[in-house]
Amino acid sequence: MYKIFKKEKLNDIIYSMWIEASEIALSVQPGQFIILMTKEKGERVPLTIADFDRERGLIRIVFQIVGKTSEELSTLEEGDELYSFIGPLGKKTEIVHYGKVITIGGGTGIACIHPIARALKEAGNEVISIIGARNKDLIIMEEELKLASSELIVTTDDGSYGRKGFVTQILKEILDQDQNIEKIWAIGPAVMMKVTCETTKPYQVDTIVSLNSVMVDGTGMCGSCRVTIGGETKFVCTDGPEFDGQLVDWAEFMNRLIRYKEQEQRSWKIYQDHTHLFKCGKEME
């Protein structure tokens, strides 16, 4: 079983957990993901790793409450165990010495970009990180990103912290001023990644995105995560999760992301009604 070693609430909706998984911690590389299940009746959820500690055998995940499984996961405490935790899955980020690069994280994508930025910096790159969220409360892992980057720029949509605006606005400013950007990684909500690619296209800078498709097994067996890349069907779990963002069929990707929206909302509502009832019942006792 996979014990929760450390749990931290980063803000109202985002949690961080260090999970005991020594074999995965030994072989994991930046850019890879894991699949977890909270319980036997649970679903298999992919999460890009936020950090790892090989010596202590730990994998860090960061997740936002977006449905039943993530809410249920947030109720687990240190010492509790996950039913399933498999990985490391997917291809690792291609870390070499490029020169000057930009890593962009939006929302929980900030956590996913973290090990990538760090590895790029360790490989001798000059790493400019841009992280953004709706408001100050939703900015996470700022200290870690500062350490992992040569320069960190924080943005909020409402201007409550850092620069006001979207990450893509900052990105455009940098690209306008600096011709030496060799490569860009962007991880975050689908719309953010799509707009990032639109922003970088005129500058012809390689832009890598990490796709968070709906998966079941995560090992290339089911094809639930398939996506069209440059006219060809690819599996995010085994061919990705990172792809050249300019080649992604974003409309198809976004359609497939919400394939189960209706069922997911139904299941979440039943869960919330139930836990609410349970809480009320407890209060009455």
Partner: protein
């Protein structure tokens, strides 16, 4: 004890049919369709066996069961004895008794087949296995000296389980690695509950674990640990990771939201129990009208699952004719009874969708049969201008699988063919690297449970020879 009956009487009797759940009932549930023999039915059927001096059925069984012997024990009402007889060579009797195509293996060579009424060997095997389970008869590990050599097995499907059990019975220390959260491979993610109840698979695996096989789930060889790394800790390795990657038609519209690979569809339904959503968290989306492309056993499973999940119409779309259908006759029969609609000589060319990605239809071409192709079957040829649209809102691709490269990618010196399947010596199952063996679908492509069982048995035997001669994979590396 039931009595032996005269040969003349045996020849007169007909095969005892097995009762089944009524089609109009069963399309609303996931319970098993055939209900099994009663004790009396089993004995009556077993009495028909001619007990041939030179039985042909044994050679027809990849699991090498001494068929006349276990049948004789049924006649004697010694069901425990019959069970122990089967267990001598078959480690998954409740599974093979259900999903083996006996009509092509042991039963086709039965002397009584000539009269069109072979002994119902599969049904008898199933009866014995179910009786033993219900009566708490457990398998025992033979008394022998444990060996200190270790064998790793990759994949816990029928090939892996068989090889693991056989090697354990020979005294080796065996560890079985499974990528998913439950062991069983295709037996748990692929074959539906109504053909193979998961509680029965679980029971069989528990029994195998009880004789000493160590099962490690959630462990992806090729990702969590490479085969190369595994080879440093084990004396031999058997790769039985399954074919595993779904194939698609490569036609426009195939990535629309409501197009599933059979693997995804069945995994959601079987392994993840999406048919019990929202009690189980994994969702599945069922259209009103479903089209399954392909006509193998997996296609029948998919079309019948779609029906049970609420599709009002469930079509099978197949480019060849009824004669070429690769599924077992029994599966086709069950599907037809349940109202599955077969569209033969029909080739899908495009899945039609709306702007939200929902499927609204499937464009197809009519086909006609031409000259035989390399498979010996008459080649289907599209009829120009015969395009028509089947109104469906869900499509399942059940046209086969290809090799998943994860395991092979981490095994230095273990070569694959151009399709990605492991190259093995047919007789010994050894790969291009000494000490590493492979079998099941990752060698054969999409095949059957019983051929995987057969491969597992052969590999166990050659691994035993390899290790008995004092060799070890650790020295090869």
């Amino acid at each position: 004890m039931a009595e032996m009956i005269p040969v003349k009487e045996r020849m007169k009797r007909n095969q005892v049919p097995m009762s089944e759940q009524e089609p109009k009932e069963r399309i609303y549930n996931f319970k098993e369709v055939p209900l099994g023999y009663t004790k009396e039915e089993a004995i009556y059927e077993a009495q028909r066996c001619l007990q041939c001096k030179v039985p042909k059925c044994i050679a027809g069984c990849p699991a090498e069961i001494n068929i006349p012997k276990f049948i004789e024990k049924i006649v004697e009402e010694n069901f425990t004895g019959a069970y122990l007889e089967i267990l001598k060579t078959d480690n998954l009797p409740a599974v093979t008794g259900r999903v083996c195509p006996q009509e092509e293996q042991c039963q086709i060579v039965c002397i009584l087949e000539k009269q069109g009424k072979p002994i119902a060997i599969g049904r008898l095997e199933r009866f014995v296995a179910d009786w033993a389970r219900e009566n708490n008869i457990h398998r025992r590990l033979p008394e022998l000296k444990r060996k200190n050599q270790k064998v790793a097995i990759v994949g816990s499907g029928p090939a892996g389980l068989t090889c693991a059990a056989d090697l354990t019975k020979l005294g080796y220390e065996v560890t079985l690695f499974e990528a998913l959260h439950k062991p069983g491979g295709v037996l748990v993610y692929g074959i539906p509950e109504f053909r193979l109840p998961k509680s029965i698979v679980k029971y069989e695996i528990n029994e195998i674990e009880k004789i000493g096989v160590k099962v490690i789930t959630n462990f992806v060889i090729g990702a969590t640990l490479s085969v190369d790394r595994l080879a440093q800790d084990y004396d031999a390795i058997f790769l039985a990771n399954g074919a595993g990657a779904p194939r698609f038609m490569n036609i426009p519209g195939e990535n629309l939201n409501d197009v599933y690979s059979a693997n995804e569809f069945l995994t959601r339904a079987n392994l993840m129990k999406a048919y019990n959503f929202p009690e189980y968290d994994t969702p599945i989306k069922i259209g009103k009208r479903s089209a399954t492309i392909g006509a193998g056993n997996v296609a029948m499973d998919s079309a019948r699952t779609a029906l049970r999940l609420g599709a009002e119409k469930s079509y099978i779309v197949y480019r060849r004719s009824r004669k070429e259908v690769p599924a077992r006759a029994e599966e086709v029969h069950h599907a037809e009874e349940e109202g599955i609609i077969f569209n033969f000589l029909t080739l899908p060319v495009k899945v039609l969708g709306d702007e939200k990605g929902n499927v609204i239809g499937m464009e197809c071409l009519k086909m006609e049969l031409g000259e035989p192709d390399e498979s010996g079957r008459r080649r289907p040829i599209p009829i120009n201008g015969s395009n028509f649209v089947i109104e469906v809102d869900m499509v399942i691709d059940a046209i086969g699988t290809s090799a998943n490269p994860i395991v092979a990618g981490s095994a230095t010196g273990v070569e694959t063919n151009k399709w990605g399947y492991f190259i093995v010596d047919e007789k010994s199952k050894v790969t291009t690297k000494e000490g590493i063996y492979a079998g099941g679908d990752i060698v054969r492509g999409s095949a059957t449970v019983i051929s995987a069982v057969g491969d597992g048995k052969v590999a166990a035997r050659t691994i035993n020879e390899f290790l008995s001669s004092g060799k070890s994979l650790r020295e090869v590396f």
